[in-house]
């Protein structure tokens, strides 16, 4: 990858997440998700007293760091627009696609680190510690990749809607309900279960659970990657289409 690509990845990330201190990073990216996670794990410990809590620890640490990247990445375009930079982005000779792709790198890295942190700390508290192996690392990074791609897909909607924030929140709720992090999908009505298959994260969570129970996790891992690639392609397709639409209706500026 070219030097220029790294510059396009790093500088906007640095700017938007100018986490000025380690303390801030730690509070926002680690402590806050751990609170959320603890809440759900504690409910599980109350309602399912004899279960292995690691099931919930895994599901929620995936879910919560994916949520962080969903919001971070999902609002990229809104922020560009709000700050009056979207016009430059569009009018520059670089393709929007390049910009989009550049924006996956650091969010994936950060949310992978966050997941690992969350998993280690909370499994230590709630159950027996989870050992981080290469396979588990692969599962985490693939899940984060697919959620970031999903976030990018949503970010494109900034071209046509003003209420992206709703959509992001709505999709968080969808992940919360359908990713299988907090209760098995088999509890849901049949006609809703397909959602589990098409959202990011759910296969990753299943894969991680299978891995920890020493079963074959590779197929689910593969599905998770597939979901990510699907959303990436959709993003590319849409960004082209939406840019044109935006020029027609004049929604590039911030006002």
């Amino acid at each position: 990858m070219s030097n220029s690509f790294w510059i396009l990845s790093w500088l906007p990330f640095k700017s938007e997440n100018s986490i000025s201190s380690f303390k801030e990073y730690f509070l926002l990216e680690v402590v806050s998700p751990i609170f959320n996670l603890s809440f759900f794990v504690l409910i599980a410990s109350f309602t399912r007293p004899n279960s292995d809590l690691n099931t919930w620890v895994i599901g929620n640490s995936f879910l919560l760091s994916a949520n962080l990247s969903l919001f971070r990445v999902g609002s990229i375009m809104v922020k560009e627009r709000y700050n009056g930079r979207l016009e430059t982005l569009i009018a520059s000779p670089s393709s929007t696609f390049r910009f989009i792709l550049a924006n996956t790198i650091f969010p994936v890295i950060v949310s992978t680190i966050t997941t690992i942190f969350g998993l280690q700390i909370s499994s230590y508290f709630f159950s027996q510690s989870i050992h981080l192996s290469f396979s588990l690392f692969l599962i985490i990074i693939s899940s984060m990749f697919s959620s970031v791609c999903f976030g990018l897909f949503l970010s494109n909607l900034a071209f046509i809607t003003d209420s992206l924030n709703f959509l992001l929140n709505l999709f968080y709720y969808i992940l919360l309900m359908f990713s299988g992090a907090n209760f098995p999908i088999s509890q849901l009505p049949h006609y809703l279960r397909f959602i589990n298959d098409i959202i990011p994260l759910s296969h990753g969570i299943t894969s991680a659970k299978l891995y920890l129970s020493n079963s074959n996790f590779k197929y689910q891992l593969f599905l998770e990657l597939l979901v990510g690639i699907f959303y990436l392609n959709l993003t590319i397709f849409f960004s082209f289409f939406l840019e044109k639409k935006a020029r027609q209706i004049g929604k590039l500026g911030s006002f």
């Binding site: 906007p12 700050n83 016009e87 520059s92 004049g250 590039l252």
Partner: protein, 258 residues
């Protein structure tokens, strides 16, 4: 000086469709109505008009950010609707105000970023960025965060950003809005200097003195219609009632039109 037209606008109309509520009917706003205009290569061209006249809309169409509803716009013989990718390589723009740059990065990082976005090669960038920073007087503060800058400093950074790809046409939408007298003078100096080096500049402004000082040619738009064009002197001669300045001419044009 080369006297060919670098921009040719023919019968340009732009209509916005606004929806005010979910169930209310769409309302149409004609931001530009049958505007025809030619801009000569190497000039500083001023676009004047009341708030909402359609100046920014014109600039956005010229910078390929907005599609015309009808009409024809050529930049260097390239069509803004079809050949926008080619056009984008030759132009750049600055929208006044404090937006458009990364506030939480330094000017240096901003220019590196936009340089890469404009696909300027690294070798050229290494040379050009310090030059630009010097030119806009920001070299000494190149490592400070932009969020601590004054409006004037941000505007100068915008100019450096606008020049990062050495455009042959630079569009500026109200480049001196809200700046103090000295900052304005500095920016005027920069604009003249650029123009001396061959860059065509198209700017909009509400300051008529600015137009008199900078522009060799102007157009006045009122409610989407082109109502006057020519050199400032021609316009003053034709329209000025009291006094002998552009302001008087401008006021009588706008009043006469409504």
């Amino acid at each position: 000086m080369d006297n060919t037209n670098i921009i040719t606008i023919t019968d340009l109309t732009r209509i916005f469709k606004n929806k005010t509520g979910w169930f209310s009917p769409t309302e149409e706003v004609t931001a530009l109505n049958n505007v025809s205009l030619k801009i000569k290569r190497g000039t500083i061209f001023g676009l004047l008009g009341q708030n909402g006249a359609g100046k920014s809309t014109t600039i956005k169409i010229l910078t390929t950010l907005l599609l015309p509803t009808s009409g024809n716009v050529l930049i260097d013989d390239l069509d803004v609707t079809k050949d926008y990718k080619e056009i984008r390589k030759k132009i750049n723009f600055i929208f006044g105000g404090e937006q458009g740059v990364y506030k939480r990065l330094t000017p240096l990082d901003n220019l590196i970023y936009f340089g890469n976005l404009y696909k300027v090669n690294t070798h050229t960038l290494k040379k050009r960025i310090p030059e630009l920073l010097n030119q806009v007087d920001l070299y000494d503060v190149k490592d400070r965060l932009v969020e601590n800058f004054s409006k004037g400093m941000i505007e100068r950074l915008q100019i450096a950003k606008g020049l990062i790809n050495s455009p042959s046409i630079l569009f500026m939408d109200e480049p001196t809005i809200g700046l103090d007298a000295l900052s304005v003078r500095k920016i005027h100096g920069l604009i003249k200097n650029l123009n001396d080096h061959g860059t065509t500049i198209v700017l909009t402004t509400h300051y008529l003195k600015e137009v008199e000082e900078l522009c060799s040619s102007v157009a006045i738009i009122n409610k989407g219609n082109l109502v006057a064009k020519g050199t400032p002197d021609e316009i003053i001669e034709k329209y000025a009632t009291k006094g002998n300045d552009l302001e008087s001419a401008y006021i009588s044009i706008i009043k006469g039109d409504s």
